[in-house]
């Protein structure tokens, strides 16, 4: 992911808190992906406006972690979602 790219959740993909299993999930067409704390934190920053650079800086500040590490982890996670068409990038 490039710092200038803007990730967005396409129509039909949304975050959902699963009360029965006490966890956040990503709901997508005919799929439900269980999110860990990191996955939920990353997707919570995705608003369709801010670019990848802004998002990784916000996460680095929030968790007091090096921005390079955050960018690497977030990029891998988002690429996996992109390949499944659960995330669009503009």
């Amino acid at each position: 992911m490039l710092a200038s790219e803007v990730p967005t959740l396409p129509r039909g993909v949304r975050l959902h808190f699963d009360r029965v299993r006490d966890t956040w999930v990503l709901l997508a067409p005919e799929r439900a992906v269980t999110l860990d704390g990191v996955g939920h934190a990353i997707l919570s920053e995705v608003d369709g406006h801010r670019n990848f650079g802004d998002i990784t800086h916000a996460l680095a500040a929030k968790f007091g972690a090096p921005v390079e590490q955050i960018a690497k982890d977030s990029s891998e996670f988002m690429t996996t979602l992109r390949n499944r068409r659960f995330l669009d990038v503009t």
Partner: protein, 369 residues
């Protein structure tokens, strides 16, 4: 005793009525009649019970779910209950107005079935003249409104050569995903094995085309693939594990562990009119019957794959071996595997076999003329 997980998905068969009469319909041969269908309020209660039980994904299916006049109300009730709503449709019965109402009601996703990539093929298989043209019109409205779309291409010996075109059509329609579904032989398809069984060569070619397309279309079109069953060496993972992942509610309110479970004659099914979904899922005898591994015989019992495929499909073991606890005969370890392979080749060579079309609820099946 195993810890029973909550189900993730529910298939709601709203009706068995359908304008199409596909010879591989997964509905049971004994179809539920319209007067026995659950009403709007009861479905709404079932959706709320499902959400409380832990269901996340609701598949609204049939028959043709658009044959229900209250479809929009049902979608609204499901969304209000907190469920992700997926409409599984042939497109027939959907107008632009109805699609816009469904959009307003919160429908999340549409899965559109494809019987063929030409009007001749699609209308012959669906048994409905003009169905293909209508489907393309519906696909256009779906794209205009912006619903996420999955194209479900159902393939068999007569139309497997159309797979490359189906992949193109999915992209032209703007689908994010295509399900390449080789016919599985349950329901009406079991009557049509002579007419529909792919050849071994077709099955191999399809697997190669899918592998190549997955690489070429990565990130653009997701391809889910259900390979030809009888030609495989290992069985499919039955329902992700019987009574662990999903459940199915029939038009008249019976709750099944899988859509074909009624073909296992000794199973008794609870009904949503009489018990809560929670009670049925955790305590119902049909759900307990093949949950976990305690029911297994050899070679499943000592097999290192038993938690991978759970012995394969119980309904297939019933249909072919006559014992629902037997190893799925698709498995190389089944003593019936060789006979099944021979049988599959024999079905696939019946080039002049006539199709037996599905009928409407209440009618009797007859061979097509």
């Amino acid at each position: 005793m195993m810890q029973v997980p909550a189900p993730i998905a529910m298939l709601a068969e709203l009706t068995h009525r359908c304008p199409l009469s596909c010879p591989y319909c997964s509905n049971p041969v004994e179809l539920a009649r319209q007067e026995n269908e659950l009403d709007t309020q009861t479905w709404g209660r079932v959706f709320r019970e499902a959400a409380q039980l832990g269901v996340l994904q609701l598949h609204l299916s049939g028959g043709e779910p658009a044959s229900r006049r209250d479809l929009t109300d049902l979608v609204r009730a499901a969304r209000t209950a907190g469920l992700y709503t997926n409409l599984i449709t042939s497109g027939i019965g959907l107008t632009e107005r109805r699609l816009r109402d469904l959009d307003e009601a919160g429908l999340d996703h549409i899965q559109l079935s494809l019987q063929g990539t030409t009007p001749e093929m699609a209308d012959e298989i669906g048994g409905y003249k003009g169905g293909y043209a209508r489907k393309l019109q519906v696909a256009h409205w779906i794209g205009e409104i912006g619903f996420p779309l999955t194209l479900n291409a159902v393939l068999h010996r007569r139309n497997l050569h159309q797979l490359p075109r189906a992949l193109e059509m999915a992209q032209e329609m703007g689908a994010r995903r295509i399900e390449v579904a080789t016919v599985q032989f349950h329901g009406w398809a079991l009557k049509n094995r002579d007419g529909l069984m792919p050849t071994r060569e077709q099955a191999r070619t399809a697997s190669r085309i899918v592998a190549e397309a997955r690489a070429a279309l990565k990130g653009r079109l997701v391809i889910d693939y259900v390979p030809a069953d009888y030609h495989d060496d290992f069985p499919k993972r039955c329902m992700g594990g019987w009574g662990t992942t999903g459940l199915n509610v029939t038009p008249d309110g019976q709750v099944l562990p899988c859509h074909a479970a009624q073909t296992i004659p000794h199973l008794k099914f609870d009904r949503v009119q009489e018990k809560s979904l929670d009670d049925i899922w955790y305590n119902g005898s049909a759900f307990q019957a093949y949950r976990g591994t305690d029911w297994m015989q050899e070679p499943c019992r000592s097999c290192d794959r038993k938690l991978i495929d759970f012995g394969g499909c119980r309904c297939q073991a019933m249909a072919i071996v006559g014992d629902a606890s037997a190893t799925d005969p698709v498995c190389v370890k089944s003593p019936h595997h060789g006979a099944l392979q021979t049988q599959a080749d024999a079905h696939a060579s019946q080039t002049d076999a006539e199709l037996i079309y599905r009928v409407s609820p209440g009618q009797k099946a007859e061979p097509a003329s």
